[in-house]
């Protein structure tokens, strides 16, 4: 199990050092010397130095490192480090040197609670916040104490009892990132959508929720009864390659009935993640044309086409066209938006605020090059794109989210529900 956990600043100074096991020796310095101060780029997130293994992740310029001498579950250690970052962020916001120094007592307290002898324990912020606070411990009544302990260890460790809201309300955000790798000829090399359903719940009591979407398997199963409905909704259903759920979702029920039922944590959480690869709506198509005119000049023309309903508007569109390292000057002409050559980033950045569906726009640039002796050809990195669209490129639709709270007197109808779809570009690249 984890033998110790250290947090360093960018210089390698120790901000937090918590040792759980003696066997790790002087690991604090070993990591600093061999990884943080190492000359070369980091080649692996796991390093073995003198039979001691180090796992590290970086958040801005802060290093978090877990150390062990045993054959630990490596996936668990990384998951724990991410969780640790989440918990810290939930308590004091951004993970920065200043915030860590300001909260070091709190961090030690958290580390004591969520990692015992190197075994991760309950790390749900909802539960932790009930008894680890920055104001010192409030005096608790006996009932409160036992409520805390039963929640921390209980089956529903993510929610406390007795939550009350005057207005029962929930928000569902379907956030998708669409990834594309396209060949210069316009052939899709790979495309997938990774989506998340994020829920913000402000519900009283212990509500039992059931979430439904246009999952092909479910629709087809239900469709058996009414043939009519199948033909209507069959087109709109989507094939989900795989999905994972927040720990509140009853996985065995999903496995047997494919229904998503859960008691949600209070506030914001990520209900599910999913991945689709079939029938993806690619919101934009990028058509590049690069021509080398002699050894000192390059002509680039890029056309983008939007491919969705004309009534919808895409936002924050940004096209990034890489330029060679020996670029000496760039002239750009674009019909829409603003384009600029950014020498520090070796790219032409073309920004368009808004663009409706079924439109196209074009940019052309002339790049002057300095002659070089470098024999190596320019690698031509792909043209990448960023955007945001108000629909889900996978085609996912929320069909329902039902809420039942048998003990309290509010029904599904009384809950105010909001649904929103946002599609963003993930790694959206076209080779040129």
């Amino acid at each position: 199990m984890i033998g110790g956990l250290f947090i360093y600043n960018h210089k390698g100074e120790v901000l937090i050092s918590r040792v759980y096991r003696d066997d790790i020796g002087n690991a604090v310095d070993a990591f600093r010397v061999n990884v943080i101060h190492a000359r070369q780029q980091v080649r692996s997130p796991v390093t073995n130095i003198a039979r001691t293994s180090f796992f590290h992740v970086k958040r801005s310029n802060i290093w978090l490192a877990a150390v062990t001498k045993q054959n630990v579950n490596a996936a668990m250690v990384f998951e724990f480090l991410y969780k640790m970052c989440d918990v810290m962020a939930a308590y004091f916001g951004k993970i920065s040197e200043e915030n860590i120094k300001n909260n070091f007592v709190l961090i030690y307290e958290l580390l004591d609670e969520i990692l015992d002898f190197g075994y991760p324990q309950n790390s749900e912020t909802g539960a932790l916040k009930t008894f680890i606070t920055q104001q010192g411990i409030k005096s608790q009544t006996k009932e409160e104490q036992s409520q805390i302990t039963s929640q921390v260890t209980g089956q529903i460790g993510w929610r406390r009892e007795g939550i009350k809201y005057r207005r029962n309300e929930l928000f569902l955000d379907v956030l998708e990132s669409v990834n594309l790798l396209m060949s210069p000829q316009g052939q899709v090399l790979s495309a997938h959508v990774s989506g998340r359903v994020v829920m913000k719940s402000y519900l009283s009591g212990m509500p039992e929720c059931k979430f439904g979407m246009n999952d092909k398997i479910v629709i087809e199963k239900q469709g058996k009864g009414t043939a009519d409905e199948t033909s209507k909704s069959g087109k709109q259903s989507i094939a989900i390659d795989d999905c994972t759920f927040h720990q509140c979702v009853r996985l065995s029920k999903f496995d047997s009935e494919r229904s998503i039922s859960f008691i949600p944590p209070d506030g914001e959480f990520e209900l599910m993640r999913y991945r689709t690869t079939k029938d993806i709506i690619l919101p934009f198509r990028v058509i590049p044309l690069v021509r080398e005119v002699g050894r000192t000049k390059l002509e680039v023309k890029v056309v983008i086409k939007s491919n969705f309903k004309p009534s919808l508007l895409a936002q924050k569109i940004e096209v990034r066209i890489p330029t060679p390292l020996n670029t000496s000057g760039v002239q750009v002409i674009c019909m829409k938006g603003k384009a600029k050559y950014k020498a520090s980033e070796n790219a032409i950045v073309w920004k368009i605020k808004r663009m409706a569906g079924m439109k196209e726009s074009q940019i052309s640039a002339e790049i002057e090059l300095l002659p070089t002796n470098d024999k190596k050809k320019w690698a031509r990195p792909p043209i990448s794109m960023n955007f945001e669209v108000p629909f889900a490129p996978s085609g996912l639709k929320v069909r329902y989210l039902k809420v039942f709270e048998p003990k309290l007197n509010y029904s599904d109808h009384d809950v105010i529900k909001w649904v929103r779809y946002i599609g963003r570009s993930g790694i959206y690249e076209t080779r040129c």
């Binding site: 980091v42 579950n73 307290e109 209980g154 795989d242």
Partner: protein, 937 residues
């Protein structure tokens, strides 16, 4: 006010100030002071001098302050054990506190104070806490047992805590169960023999129930523990799999990977005919792909594991090639791993796509990545024959880019392509030669030299090229290649190159200090001067093709690593014993055997079309594998050596020596050493027929060797249509051989002999084909020595030293089995250092010790020692205790297992006592037999 100010106090005399503040009456001031102390502690200042003052602050009802003091205690108690006792009272009191949070805090902290004196006081509070009414306290106490066990294992056993911990597995609270499982698993790891985690269907059921209810971390503990369970039959395996599969949809990647581990392991027990088996395979792919959308560090862990899974069960991900395409922004460690998996998944169906990608990668920035991509193109050519041509032309394109490292890497892989498809792509040699000047890396130079030597007859100016290389002969990394290449050239074009060959031979033999080079030089020299025709046969002999899959992990290691999915072992691709110190984690795990019911459906190569069952002699119990091998036999007589010595682990010291160099010297009739994809072995093929050389110089006879048993009849003529085989095993200077005597007792001539071994415990395999030069006429007898290697496939046999052999001739295929004496496996470097011997002897648990009596052996210590030494049993130390001579001896088997022995000889008493200690106790019996045979002969 924020806490960061505590980091900035650097004044002199601050310890004094802190002391004063700690003793202040004001609560706030006290707390501030403790915070300062902790901050100093974090940055590495020694604040242990404040121990009594800080401990004084412990008695408080302020929980935050208490936690800080505890933190300090955990850090410094060890350096101040006497002072730490002062804290005990408070701990004991806190363990009785009405607030469960405080009870748990006390028991948690107490376990972290690693002072012997304190542990005694810990027992009573811990016992109470293990039975506390509050689950939070119980789950904390469960972990505390593991802590205490780490400090004082005996105490934990004596106090009966292990039993209480076992009871907690049935606790009503899932988190308590999970922590108890975690604690027990860790304790069990340091006691491999104990059945602490006595898993049975009932307890498994409890664990599976808790699995649905506990936290994500708890699920990982439980799944990792389940993976150690061995279901009793395929039904049970299936029902566990069914209950574990829902975990594949968990958001936590570690839960998913641990579930994959359980499924991969238990799947071994399921019959492939089962519908469920197919369903399960299909269910595994999507979650594995999903892992690739996690954060990069987890992607890396996932990719390292997928690399194993793809080798074990390629069918799972065979359609998912695209997800492994490299993204421009992937961190380099992710890129390199993806590339590796792409090659493993490459097949005829997707090769076009893969090649297009690889070509793209070869223009990237990172040098390592580009090199690997170029190498991957070569590997594709070797793997998918249909694509070879396209790969070669892609490589040529890349050579045209003239990027130095790309060119060099391309030449290295083209050499391998030549070795796989000889006489096919020589047209490219001209292009390669154009780039000679840019080669500055030894590996590329060596590859180029090899190519020039191998195809000398087609390169007009081969002599000039090699001559130019010869100018830099002092560059020692390519000397061996150059020597071999020039000798090859000489044999092909003797007239023009006489001067060159003499020059290189004198350089190698006179001007070099490198023994390998000198020896090889002399061998060539003598060979050339004695019999040029024989030299030609030897040096230019046809070499077996290299195998298509390279870099595969050796199957037994792979199986072991599959049992470690998700853990560090699977990230390093090494067994835990390679990176974990001491006794922890050195238990070897293995996949469960397939159940009997599924055996028949298991291997596709078990074709029923082999020899009719009636003719199979009863000596062979398992015919399945032999039948499969038989098919191989019929296909092509040159049984191309043992499988590649590929994985780096296996190559480690012993095997490389055993299969390579050593066999050059000892074997007679040695034809081709095992091929290897490693360029270092490039020169190895010249080993062909070296033994003839030794026959000429008659140097062999004087070499000492192990005891050789007289030949025994292995296959009587009656059972083999007139072929009688008798034989024995020998070991001489590191090489093992099987000395066979074939007698033809039939009336017709026998030809086309070939031999094949079944998989066996030590991977014995013929290192060369069985060469019977002339047809064997009736009543003729021929003596053959067949060199053996130990890099064949391994399967544990019963008895351990059982070897099943199939021999084929023009009449039929015959089977027999024989037992080989274990001492042929004792290697020459089996002498252990004294200190090491002592430490190892202590380290091996006493259960592994076996004692034997060797009767009627009237030898004194000296005689016994020298006798044993000649069979590679080495005396490490000698002692005389009360008139008895004690010999401490060590030996090492070809697969790296060490056996330590203590031989007690009493003067005047004809029997002596042998005690053996070994980490693999099953070999002891056979080592004893070896001792007995050696001593008595």
């Amino acid at each position: 006010m924020t806490d960061s100010k505590y980091f900035t106090t650097t004044k002199k005399g601050e310890i004094f100030e802190l002391k004063a503040e700690l003793n202040s009456d004001k609560k706030e001031k006290k707390k501030e002071a403790v915070k300062k102390v902790i901050a100093s502690m974090t940055v590495g200042k020694d604040v242990s001098a404040l121990f009594p003052d800080v401990v004084n602050c412990m008695q408080t009802d302020n929980l935050e302050l208490k936690k800080l003091v505890y933190l300090y205690l955990m850090n410094y108690a060890k350096s101040q054990p006497d002072m730490a006792i002062m804290a005990v009272n408070t701990f004991v009191k806190d363990c009785e506190d009405p607030n469960p949070l405080i009870r748990a805090l006390a028991v948690r902290t107490m376990g972290c104070i690693r002072v012997d004196k304190i542990t005694e006081y810990l027992c009573e509070p811990l016992r109470k806490c293990l039975k506390d009414e509050d689950p939070y306290v119980r789950k904390t106490a469960a972990v505390c047992v593991a802590k205490l066990h780490d400090i004082n294992a005996q105490l934990v056993e004596d106090q009966g805590f292990l039993d209480t911990l076992k009871d907690l597995i049935s606790d009503s609270n899932p988190m308590v169960v999970a922590n108890a499982v975690a604690a027990l698993s860790e304790i069990a790891e340091s006691h491999p023999s104990s059945n602490l985690l006595d898993l049975n269907p009932q307890s498994i059921n409890k664990l599976l129930t808790a699995l649905n209810e506990c936290t994500e971390w708890g699920q990982i503990f439980i799944l990792d523990c389940l993976a150690n369970y061995m279901p009793k039959d395929d039904r049970e395996a299936q029902s566990i799999c069914e209950r574990v599969t829902p975990r594949l949809s968990h958001a936590n990647s570690a839960v998913v990977l641990s579930a994959v581990k359980v499924l991969m392991k238990f799947m071994e027990m399921l019959s492939k005919d089962l519908d469920y088996y197919g369903t399960l395979l299909k269910k595994l792919a999507p979650p594995l792909v999903t892992l690739l959308s996690a954060e990069p560090e987890l992607q890396y862990v996932a990719l390292r594991n997928i690399n194993l899974i793809v080798q074990k069960r390629p069918e799972i991900l065979k359609h998912e090639m695209k997800v492994f395409f490299v993204k421009y922004n992937d961190p380099i460690y992710v890129k390199l791993e993806k590339l590796d998996i792409m090659i493993r998944l490459a097949s005829q169906a997707n090769i076009a796509q893969v090649l297009a990608e690889l070509k793209e990668y070869a223009t990237e920035v990172d040098v390592d990545f580009v090199r690997k991509a170029v190498r991957a193109i070569g590997r594709c050519a070797i793997k998918v024959e249909q694509s070879a041509e396209r790969c070669v032309s892609t490589l040529l394109d890349l050579i045209q880019t003239k990027v130095n490292y790309v060119v060099q890497e391309a030449i290295v892989v083209i050499k391998d392509i030549f070795r796989k498809y000889p006489n096919k792509y020589e047209s490219v040699i001209a292009t390669l030669c154009e780039n000679l000047d840019s080669l500055d890396e030894p590996e590329a130079r060596a590859a180029m030299i090899w190519i020039v030597g191998e195809y000398a007859e087609r390169i007009d100016n081969a002599d000039e090229l090699l001559e130019s290389f010869l100018e830099g002969f002092h560059d020692e990394s390519t000397q061996l290649q150059l020597l071999t290449a020039i000798v090859k050239l000489f044999l092909k074009k003797p007239t023009e190159t006489q001067e060159l060959v003499q020059q290189v031979l004198s350089l190698a033999t006179q001007d070099s200090d490198n023994p390998d080079l000198r020896d090889r030089g002399y061998i060539y020299w003598r060979l050339l001067s004695t019999d040029p025709v024989a030299a030609k046969e030897v040096v230019l002999a046809e070499k077996p093709l290299i195998s298509e899959e390279t870099d595969l992990i050796e199957p037994t290691l792979l199986d072991e690593l599959i049992c470690y999915i998700g853990t560090l072992a699977s990230v390093y691709h090494k067994p835990p014993s390679a990176f974990v110190e001491g006794g922890r984690g050195v238990v070897h795990k293995s996949l469960p055997p397939r159940t009997a019911s599924s055996e028949s459906a298991e291997s596709p190569e078990t074709a029923p079309t082999g020899a009719p069952p009636g003719e199979q002699p009863d000596v062979i119990p398992a015919q399945g594998d032999l039948l499969g091998d038989l098919l191989n036999l019929d296909l092509g007589p040159p049984v191309s050596g043992p499988p590649l010595a590929t994985s780096s682990v296996q190559m480690g010291a012993v095997d490389l020596l055993g299969g390579g160099l050593d066999s050059l010297i000892g074997g007679t009739n040695f034809v081709a050493p095992p091929t290897a994809a490693v360029p270092a072995n490039l020169g190895a093929p010249i080993g062909s027929g070296l033994s003839d050389l030794f026959d000429l110089t008659s140097g062999v006879g004087t070499l000492s060797g192990s005891y050789v048993a007289p030949k025994a009849v292995w296959l009587p003529a009656m059972k083999a249509k007139g072929l009688e085989i008798s034989g024995t095993f020998t070991r001489q200077v590191g090489s093992i051989s099987m000395d066979l005597q074939l007698t033809n007792k039939a009336l017709q001539v026998m030809t086309d002999f070939a031999i094949q071994f079944n998989r066996n415990s030590f991977g014995l395999a013929p290192a060369a084909p069985l060469q019977v030069h002339a047809p064997l006429s009736p009543n003729q007898t021929v003596e053959i020595s067949l060199p053996l290697s130990t890099v064949g496939s391994v399967m544990k046999m019963e008895p351990l030293n059982n070897l099943q052999v199939a021999v084929k001739n023009n009449i039929d295929v015959f089977y027999f089995s024989t037992l080989y004496p274990l001492h042929i496996l004792f290697v020459e470097d089996g002498k252990m250092d004294r200190q090491m011997f002592l430490a190892t002897w202590k380290d091996i648990p006493n259960e592994n010790e076996a004692q034997f009596q060797i009767r009627d052996c009237p030898l004194n210590a000296e005689a016994a020692s020298s006798k044993l030494q000649s069979s590679n049993i080495f005396t490490v130390a000698k002692r005389n205790v009360e008139g008895q001579d004690m010999l401490y001896q060590s030996l090492k088997l070809t697969n790296g297992i060490w056996v330590l022995a203590e031989l007690r000889i009493q003067p005047g008493n004809p029997s002596c006592t042998l005690s053996l200690k070994c980490r693999a106790p099953e070999v002891s019996q056979h080592v004893y037999q070896a001792y007995e045979t050696i001593l008595k002969n």
